[in-house]
């Protein structure tokens, strides 16, 4: 019953798990990034639902507003920072994806990392400054 009442937490955790599954199991790196964003969204959703109040009002004290009906603003403020971080991570990751695609010509993880062992063995002084 408690689980049903807190259905928003359940939804957030389901989303989180879907995102984590996508990051781990998908072979396409763009899909991995989408999974990463789903994970992030799940956490944002969790935070926002923490501060949610049915019929709540903005937390501004004017003209005797009732403090017990005010929405908690802290999770929203925190998640604003979280969104900025998430955008930066996604931007950097996409930049790396572009570079990877230019140099390897593929977005498939298995093919990207297939020659890893050989590349390390073959990298002698050629790559050095």
């Amino acid at each position: 019953m408690q689980l049903l009442r807190n259905y928003h937490y359940v939804a957030a955790m389901l989303l989180f798990c879907i995102g984590l599954y996508t990051v781990i199991m998908r072979r396409n790196i763009i899909k991995k990034l989408i999974g990463l964003n789903i994970m992030e969204t799940a956490v944002f959703f969790f935070y926002i639902s923490l501060g949610y109040l049915d019929g709540g009002i903005a937390p501004i004290r004017v003209g005797g507003a009732d403090p017990s009906r005010m929405v908690n603003p802290i999770p929203q403020a925190l998640i604003l920072t979280g969104i900025v971080v998430a955008v930066s991570v996604t931007a950097l990751a996409l930049a790396l994806v572009i570079l990877l695609y230019r140099q390897y010509g593929t977005l498939d993880v298995d093919r990207l990392f297939r020659d890893e062992g050989e590349a390390e063995a073959g990298e002698g002084k050629g790559e050095a400054a």
């Binding site: 992030e40 969790f46 925190l78 920072t81 950097l92 790396l96 990392f113 400054a129």
Partner: protein, 494 residues
């Protein structure tokens, strides 16, 4: 009350401010960038040194940002261990920065050098903030600045392997950051506060045990990825060996350690009251992984052909050492872990910078190519050997002192198996370190490889290397300057 109250926040903001001005500097006077980038780090180091003795082992220095009282505002809280780690961070970042000037001019293309120094300063400032902050959400923010700048720095040369290593690092690092954010959300939902000191008071009152268990485990996994605790280490060997050498020194000498320190703080200054069983159980589990890390890292290091790859695997092994000290949960163990952070930071930074010098001067990366290297680069070779002795733990070096306390701590905690594993790890370290030393000094080189006139690295590259390697010797001989206070601070923490 004195001016020194403001030092911790200045130590954090100076490098961050420097990072803001770097692009402008690059636009106006690109030649001055390496010099001006070292200034904020030097200033932070000076402020840090001035703080020595101002913070007692049992106390802390609190700073309220914007003069908002702690439970509501963000607090910077530097205790003795925090200051100890901040000084290590300042010292090693400054020395790597001095080393960077020549190395980066050769390795990184002209258009990216300003970006390199900007990211370097961002990373240094974030590490200092990460160590000092007393607010758990602030911890997340600094962790993300640190992580983002380090992903970008691994990829800065832009060649195939570097981009791939950075992407692998990001694919493991970003989900771990999200886990930490979720863990903070759980903690906030259970207690309604974000200040670490306030959290530790309220956790016992809250009574939401299940939420706390999930939150704590998410913290350990999240920071465990950043600290590269076995089996979450997969990103480390590539990222550490392919990054430019000064960045390898930072990643290996500092980043993994501040992450381990974050686990230490979360375990012992946040989840203290009412969660002893939870911490004890998790620490037992982490101890098993740490022991596996010591052996796995050591064995893999022995098998490597590439010098930087070998040092990177050795880092995995040494992270195991630091964690074995933390998981012993005794004052001696934690002292050993903290001292190992110092020793490992100095020695690993020195080894990576030496490896960088070999690449810079001769272009050799493979261990085989180092046969007979002392004939042309004696100074670099001797510094490498001294730091390698500290990695093994030979008596007059700092490595011996830290391993001594790690073993004492584990005997105290009754984990005799871990004592054996710590010793086995040292034997493995001896195998992979002495192999390189023997190659350098006692084997004849390949035809024409190391012949010709004396050709060591430039003074601006040699002096940081030598300061680091003499540092391992200094802190081995004069360990009594730090150890008693660390022991007291560790007892206070437990």
């Amino acid at each position: 009350m004195g001016a020194y109250r403001h030092f911790p926040i200045l130590m954090i903001t100076l490098p961050l401010l420097g990072a803001v001005f770097m692009p402008l500097m690059g636009y106006l006077r690109a030649k001055w960038v390496p010099w001006t980038a070292a200034l904020p780090l030097a200033a932070s180091s000076v402020l840090g040194v001035l703080l020595i003795g101002k913070i007692p082992a049992e106390g802390y220095l609190g700073y309220h940002l914007g003069n908002w009282e702690p439970p509501w505002g963000i607090e910077i809280r530097v205790d003795f261990m925090g200051l100890f780690l901040m000084l290590i961070v300042c010292g090693i970042t400054l020395l790597s920065m001095v080393y960077s000037r020549r190395y980066i001019a050769a390795e990184v293309s002209e258009g990216r050098q300003t970006a390199y120094y900007t990211l370097f300063l961002l990373m240094s400032g974030a590490m200092l903030g990460f160590t000092a902050t007393g607010d758990i959400f602030n911890l997340f923010v600094f962790m993300e600045i640190l992580a983002l700048s380090s992903y970008a720095l691994v990829a800065i040369t832009g060649n195939r392997n570097a981009v791939r290593a950075a992407f692998k690092y990001l694919l493991m690092g970003a989900p771990s950051s999200i886990m930490v954010l979720l863990a903070i959300g759980f903690l906030y939902s259970a207690t309604g506060t974000l200040n670490m000191a306030d959290l530790s008071r309220r956790i016992a009152e809250s009574g939401y045990t299940e939420v706390l268990i999930v939150s704590y485990i998410l913290f350990v996994i999240g920071f465990g990825v950043k600290a590269a605790l076995f089996p979450l280490h997969m990103w480390l060997p590539d990222a550490h060996s392919i990054a430019p050498s000064p960045i390898s020194a930072l990643l290996s000498g500092l980043l993994v350690e501040v992450s381990a320190f974050a686990i230490l703080r979360i375990s012992f200054s946040v989840f203290t009251s009412g969660a002893e069983n939870l911490i004890g159980g998790t620490m037992d589990a982490a101890g098993i992984f740490a022991a596996a890390a010591v052996l796995f890292g050591g064995i893999m290091a022995v098998l490597q052909k590439d010098l930087k790859m070998m040092i990177a695997y050795s880092t995995i092994s040494h992270i195991g050492y630091i964690f074995l000290g933390i998981t012993a949960m005794t004052a001696e163990g934690i002292t050993g872990a903290m001292y190992h952070m110092l020793d490992h930071g100095l020695a690993k930074a020195c080894l990576f910078l030496c490896a960088g010098s070999f690449i810079y001067v001769k272009g050799y990366r493979r261990i085989e190519d180092l046969k007979g290297a002392w004939r042309q680069m004696p100074w670099t070779c001797f510094a490498f050997a001294l730091a390698a002795l500290s990695v093994v733990g030979i008596p007059p070096t700092a490595g011996f002192i830290s391993k001594w306390y790690l073993i004492l701590g584990n005997i105290e905690g009754g984990n005799y198996l871990y004592v054996v594993i710590l010793l086995a790890g040292s034997i493995l370290a001896a195998v992979y370190c002495f192999r390189v030393i023997i190659y350098m000094f006692f084997l004849p080189g390949k035809e024409g490889a190391w012949e010709g006139e004396f050709k060591d690295a430039a003074p601006s590259m040699l002096s940081p290397v030598w300061i680091l390697s003499l540092g391992t010797l200094f802190f081995g001989v004069f360990s009594y300057l730090v150890i008693p206070s660390l022991l007291k601070a560790a007892e206070f923490l437990l």
